[in-house]
């Protein structure tokens, strides 16, 4: 076993822990908008950082573990909230990977916006199936606008983190 592998595992687990903490912090921030599903998506900050710092493989792993651990720690495994976060995670990951591999021209901003939008779409599909509320599709336009705004913010924060990380760890 070499040192760099241990370093990578340690860093990934730090990213994972930060993602979980951000997820919990986010739920403590009260938003004045009475629309279910509108949130900052702070946890995606860690996802994007891992995707750019490492590769899609680590992105998928950290994303899955984060959703799994948050479900285990807070909402309960198999509870409606955990199923909804899984459905959002799956759809947004699929599209992030498609964009990462096939659309080379967009930057971290476009990737973050699409990730947020497809996360919302995944959650709405989840709500429609889970609660048989097809009229929830009416919320998609509002969620798309909020996802675009939060996507830009998260991408901006992520570029700051990535620049700092590149300065701090020149070797992976």
């Amino acid at each position: 076993m070499n040192v760099s592998k241990t370093k990578k595992i340690t860093r990934l687990s730090m990213f994972l822990a930060l993602g979980i903490v951000l997820n919990i912090l986010e739920s403590m921030i009260p938003l004045p908008i009475p629309i279910p599903g509108v949130k900052l998506g702070l946890a995606n900050l860690m996802g994007l950082t891992v995707l750019y710092f490492y590769s899609p493989k680590e992105y998928l792993l950290i994303g899955f573990l984060r959703v799994f651990l948050v479900a285990l720690l807070r909402t309960g495994l198999g509870s409606p909230a955990s199923i909804l976060s899984f459905s959002g995670y799956i759809l947004s990951s699929i599209f992030v990977l498609i964009i990462y591999y096939f659309v080379k021209k967009i930057s971290i901003y476009g990737l973050s916006i699409s990730s947020a939008i497809f996360h919302s779409i995944g959650q709405i599909i989840g709500v429609i199936i889970l609660y048989s509320l097809p009229s929830m599709i009416n919320y998609l336009p509002i969620l798309m606008i909020s996802s675009t705004i939060s996507g830009i913010l998260i991408a901006y924060l992520s570029t700051i983190i990535l620049n700092l990380l590149n300065k701090a760890f020149l070797i992976k």
Binding site: S107, I113, V127, L133, P134, S135, I145
Partner: protein, 138 residues
């Protein structure tokens, strides 16, 4: 660090953002345009996608309270109270549910507005009489 992706905002990102906002704004405008058609305001109370009560808001004489009872609808967290006030509008109050998002809506009174309580599977929406006909035909 893989440098195959840019960290700088470029024209493709702006296109994606504009596309997303255009799609959402246009669909909001279409939905509002449809909702603002003529006819009385109908308060439609839905439970798991089936309408359980329709109240004509414009013909209402006095304030009323509609209670969806847990005995009748066992998937509810508790009795679900819809308060209908002629002056203020429609609101849900003292709801038993995990997140209380629905109570934050406050009073609604315009067509096309709705209160959604996802955990309880209840939607209270104000619809137009004419739109109602369209839906029942389709």
């Amino acid at each position: 660090m893989k440098n195959n992706f840019s960290l700088k905002f470029n024209i493709f990102d702006i296109l994606i953002a504009i596309l997303a906002i255009l799609i959402s704004v246009s669909s909001i405008i279409i939905v509002n345009y449809k909702a603002n058609s003529n006819g009385d305001r109908i308060i439609n109370i839905q439970y798991q996608n089936t309408s359980i009560a329709k109240i004509n808001y414009d013909e209402l004489k006095e304030d009323m309270v509609y209670v969806i009872k847990k005995e009748d609808y066992p998937d509810l967290y508790g009795d679900f109270t819809v308060e209908i006030s002629i002056d203020k509008g429609v609101r849900v109050h003292n709801i038993t549910c995990p997140n209380h998002t629905c109570e934050k809506y406050g009073y609604i009174s315009k067509k096309g507005k709705s209160i959604v309580c996802i955990p309880n599977g209840v939607i209270v929406s104000i619809e137009s009489e004419s739109i109602d006909d369209v839906i029942s035909v389709g």
